[in-house]
Amino acid sequence: MSSIELKGRFAPLTVIRVLVTDLRAVEHDLAAATGKAPGYFRNAPVVLDLSPVESAAEAVDLAELARAVRACGLALVGVQRSSGLLAARAEELGIGIVSLEGRARAPQLQAAPEVLEPAAAVATPPPAAASPPPPAAPPAPVTAAEAATAAKDAGAMDATAKDAGVEGHGEVAESVIVPHPARSGQRLYAARGDLIVLGAVSSGAELIAAGNIHVYGPLRGRAIAGAMGNEGARIFCQGFDAELISIAGSYMLSEDFQGEHIGKAVQVFLHGEKLTIEPLSALLAAKK
């Protein structure tokens, strides 16, 4: 039997797009960007996208850049595939070269100038030029312990959430049942499985799950399913009136929804690249 196993699944990565060659500026902006959500970025796997400075490749000190990234507590996985000098330099330094092509919704963290865009594949919608600003803060993913603490902060602590706090790598998805409504300002996580809310989700509340989200009540807040990139994740609710829905990084804001679904029991899933909202009653109709 082999001592290792190779898995094809692409882990969620944060891409740091470097826009200038000035190392000081990049260092400064990186520290500022990661300082806003230190827990979220601790040991977060990142990839450097150097394509904006490709033309000035000689001016880029990749070794120093890598040091700066690591100094912010980030885990540098590699640089995005680029041609020529920088790729060669990365190889010399033992830094991986990663191809992110085809990841249409690749998350980006721009290191300079300022803008912080949290990792889209992890949870938040991608920055889109003409669209309204995505959710303010990056939903911290990822260790179950963190998730449990976050759930506690938000008042979601219950036996099930506690269980999710046990570090475990079993195959069984660990679902979190929230036995009360989710109120404005609360952020509830299920870091490894489904998130099930027994009650209303108020506008201003945020649900984040690696798996599916089930709401037994009206959904008026935000629901982010498939937060670790699971494109098969779905959102179910009894009364649809969400502020934002997202699955595996694709998202829609309330102004994008069709009025016909408002107030209905619906499911939301990814159909190719497109988020699809479908009344649950359609399931019954289809069976006939």
Partner: protein
């Protein structure tokens, strides 16, 4: 043990202090030994609404910091014998309200009072947190507008997670919704949220609906809690809410505007 009731809202200016004064006075009228405590350190105005601002010598912070005895700081109401006010400090910083300090004062009040009404400052910061932390019950004051409802929703979430009862896993803080500054006609025209709209979102039991009323401003200017000030609609609505707090199941008369009194019934308008 006395009942500790926090009057809170998240949003500012929705009527917390008006409500604290009216409910505390109403409870005292109904024979409960009642203390009303101002947690709005630095912006005290409960004493003004209660009409005792000139009698403030020591305050809540003095007591917490051991500079005065509780007995010296408590102001006995001149109208109702079983009503007392613990004023806030106008000069201190709200961090002076330590949770342990607050607890000590509440424990001491518990010995002499049936009900302790805590007038919370606006916001969800330290002062509001200190006011809700030890509460058994909460009156969530909401105005019929979206921003106020959203803030109340937030506060209800905090009551269920950040209070002593929530942290210890005891019976949760009992929540009461008080919808204030309500204008049934404007709600009917869709200019403000209706009672049903607010109840649907907040989903906690309705303690009362207080109509928008000029009597409230008159009362606070004259330092007379609105329940003592003649027979205003707002005063009556608050007295009804007091009955419900005391466990009596009285019908809501202010849901649809002016309750029809005997005169309007006679003259049929």
């Amino acid at each position: 043990m006395s009942r500790i009731i926090v009057v809170t809202s998240g949003k500012g200016g929705v009527g917390k202090t008006t409500t604290s004064a009216a409910i505390a006075t109403g409870l005292a009228l109904r024979g409960k030994r009642t203390a009303v405590v101002d947690f709005d350190i630095g912006l005290r105005n409960l004493d003004i609404i209660m009409g005792c601002e000139r009698r403030v010598v020591y305050d809540f912070v003095n007591v917490i910091q051991g500079e005065a005895r509780l007995r010296q700081a408590l102001i006995k109401d001149k109208r109702l014998e079983n009503l007392s006010i613990l004023p806030a400090s106008q000069t201190r910083d709200k961090t002076a309200l330590t949770l342990e300090g607050v607890k000590k004062v509440l424990d001491e009040l518990s010995a002499d009072f049936d009900v302790i009404v805590c007038d919370s400052p606006a916001g969800i910061e330290h002062g509001a947190f200190a006011a809700m932390y030890w509460a058994d019950e909460a009156i969530v004051v909401t105005n019929p507008e979206v921003s106020s409802v959203r803030d109340s929703d937030r506060i209800i979430g905090l009551l269920a997670s950040k209070t002593k009862r929530a942290i210890d896993g005891d019976a949760p803080v009992r929540e009461h919704l008080l919808l204030s500054r309500y204008d049934a006609r404007r709600a009917k025209r869709g200019e403000m949220l209706s009672v049903a709209d607010v109840l649907e979102i907040l989903a906690i039991p309705l303690l009362g609906v207080i109509p928008e009323s000029p009597a409230v401003l008159e009362s606070s200017n004259s330092g007379t809690p609105v329940v003592l000030n003649g027979r205003s609609e707002a005063g009556e609505a608050y007295l009804e809410a007091v009955e419900r707090l005391l466990g009596r199941d009285v019908p809501h008369r202010f849901l649809n505007g002016k309750p029809r009194g005997i005169l309007s019934r006679l003259f049929g308008n």
